[in-house]
């Protein structure tokens, strides 16, 4: 029997965040999931395998930080105690440079991310490892599926936006999950409605209900919908200069999306999935 990558020995749960479509908010859902789990006292590691467009360093406000090497491998960047992040973004010298890589090189990088990064330790195992993925069903996805084949991940959170153009791509991603035996933990509908700050009228910019319909038609759990909240975008964007020394964790505590995310994550925690170790 083949063994999972050694770096995952001290990781209790692995959750992937997937979507066939780009720009639906995988990274922002990953960020919020990490913050929500962290707020509930779990230790969380986040791995960004979007190699050509890594957004998570920006999301967590740690763009300037660097990854260090130890005898055991790469040490992920610590965002705050019990919250760690690893992304290709940390390894590129100039943030504007493009990473133009063909498939085999991307596959090698992802392999390295899974095998050479120290996630947790014997004494302090990591509760959750969240893996943020690029859009599509290609090299990165095949690579991660191969690496996790024996690792027994909890499953995948599927993110979609309400419109049919998006759910059509997401169906493909679910098909992919079935093929590689990733359990679908549930579907989240992001960008579901926008509440006008002037008159509190809710407009469905990208229509609505697509995620729910999708989960019903495929008999998958529906985790909930997250409305568009410009204050969250602002919170992310302005954290480096306008936060008066407050960390992202403290800022998110007051965000209107927090109770919504709590409910969504609650549905996953309720499943009480067994720890891997």
């Amino acid at each position: 029997m083949e063994a999972p990558p050694k770096s995952l020995n001290h990781v209790k749960h692995i959750v992937l965040i997937l979507s066939g479509k780009g720009g639906v908010g995988k990274s922002s859902v990953t960020t919020q999931t990490a913050l929500t789990l962290h707020a509930q006292g779990y230790s969380v590691g986040v791995l960004d395998i979007d190699l050509t467009g890594p957004s998570l360093p920006r999301m967590f406000g740690v763009e300037e930080r660097q990854v260090h090497q130890s005898t055991n491998g790469w040490i992920p960047v610590q965002v705050c105690p019990k919250l760690y992040l690893m992304s290709l973004g940390f390894l590129i010298s100039n943030r504007n440079n493009s990473v133009v890589w063909r498939g085999p090189k991307k596959t090698a990088m992802i392999k390295q991310f899974l095998q050479d990064v120290c996630w947790g330790s014997e004494s302090e195992p990591l509760d959750y490892l969240l893996i943020d993925t690029p859009p599509g069903t290609s090299d990165e996805h095949i690579a991660i599926a191969e690496e996790l084949r024996w690792a027994n991940p909890d499953g995948a959170i599927i993110v979609t936006t309400p419109q049919q153009v998006s759910t059509a791509d997401v169906r493909k991603e679910i098909n992919f999950c079935n093929k590689v035996n990733f359990e679908v933990l549930g579907i989240v509908e992001n960008m579901s409605g926008f509440i006008c700050p002037y008159c509190a009228e809710c407009t469905n910019i990208f229509s609505s209900g697509g995620g729910k319909q999708l989960s019903e038609s495929l008999a998958l759990p529906y985790l909930g919908n997250i409305p568009i909240d410009p204050s969250f975008v602002e919170l992310i964007e302005l954290q480096d200069n306008n936060t008066k020394g407050k960390s992202l964790v403290e800022l998110y505590d007051k965000c209107s999306l927090k109770p919504i995310m709590n409910e969504i994550i609650g549905k996953i925690l309720q499943k009480n999935l067994p720890s891997r170790i």
């Binding site: 780009g22 050509t52 493009s98 991603e173 964007e237």
Partner: protein, 329 residues
């Protein structure tokens, strides 16, 4: 009958890590090649040398006057939406023959947006015929070749390259095409390298970059601009999508994706690019795309319609003016 897809090359095994690419000059000579089962094939002359398909691609593409790539490093910013708008706007001019090509292989959206979902591609002696959504607007997408709309295409890069090559080589656009608009997937990877390599000899007019106003998107878009510069693709201009939203109830304007770093316009100033304009969010755009209808035909009075048509005009000026400059010299 749906056309079959040829394998790219006859390799013994999948490419290894750090493979320099079987077509590259270094094929068979790199460190990674040592011990690779393909080394013999790569280092022999059978695969290397000029690609025998290039003259065929060049012949096909020489019948097309203007080739425009729609690019963005970021996903979901509206590349496909804008491609469909641009195609429709161009095709509204009866004198133009327009083609749209969808290179997003894992998530093809154009068939739905152009209202051609469920159609099939036909193969004939002269190649694959695109699906015509209007008399003068043809569309080619992998979406037409799937057995079931939900089936996932789980392909590695090399296989995607093969299909892109076939799209360029085998699609019969008719005798002459005025515009070919190429929609791409997000990122800077195999698809982008493939299309730029194969189209290099014929030349593309340039790239239209699509972005949304927030920095998280601009970050990826800068990478795409860097890619264009490295690949020698001219950037025709940048359009900012989803900028601002007017509440249909109270007409109050809000910035959903706040341009905290100045948005697309500032980016253009910084990098010395042409800013083609910004298109506001209109919920009806999404609805039209879902149903395959043409947004500006349905809602000619929307501010988004004016904005889109202005961008298209600015883009056409950019492309067609260059042509006149060329003939003057």
């Amino acid at each position: 009958m749906s056309p079959s897809i040829e394998p790219t090359q006859e390799l013994n095994a999948p490419e290894p890590e750090h493979c320099p690419g079987p077509e590259s000059d270094l094929a068979g000579k790199e460190d990674a090649c040592q011990g690779c089962p393909n080394q013999e094939i790569c280092s022999s002359n059978t695969v290397k040398g000029p690609d025998p398909d290039l003259p065929l691609i060049n012949a096909r593409l020489s019948q097309i006057d203007h080739k425009i790539l729609v690019l963005s490093g970021k996903g979901g910013v509206g590349k496909s939406t804008f491609t469909s708008m641009l195609s429709w706007a161009l095709a509204a001019d009866d004198s133009l023959e327009v083609g749209a090509m969808d290179l997003d292989i894992c998530g093809p959206s154009l068939p739905r947006m152009l209202g051609a979902e469920g159609e099939g591609v036909h193969q004939s002696n002269s190649g694959w015929s695109p699906v015509y959504v209007a008399d003068n607007l043809g569309l080619m997408s992998i979406g037409f070749m799937l057995p079931d709309p939900d089936s996932a295409i789980i392909w590695r890069g090399a296989k995607k390259n093969g299909l892109i090559k076939q799209f360029l080589k085998d699609v019969n656009w008719g005798e002459h095409l005025d515009y070919l608009v190429v929609d791409t997937p997000p990122g800077t990877s195999d698809e982008h390298l493939a299309v730029t390599t194969y189209m290099k000899e014929v030349g593309v007019d340039g790239a239209l970059i699509v972005t949304t106003p927030q920095e998280v998107a601009l970050l990826d878009v800068r990478k795409e601009i860097d890619f264009c510069r490295k690949a020698g693709i001219k950037i025709l201009g940048l359009v900012e999508n989803m900028s601002g939203f007017v509440c249909p109830n109270c007409k109050g304007q809000s910035q959903i994706f706040k341009p905290t770093t100045g948005g697309g316009e500032q980016l253009c100033k910084d990098l010395n690019l042409k800013f083609l304009g910004s298109v506001p969010l209109d919920p009806r755009i999404g609805a039209c795309c879902d149903h395959g209808r043409c947004f500006f035909d349905e809602y000619p009075d929307s501010p988004a319609t004016t904005a889109i048509l202005d961008v298209v005009d600015a883009l056409r000026d950019q492309v067609e003016l260059d042509m006149t400059k060329l003939t003057l010299e």
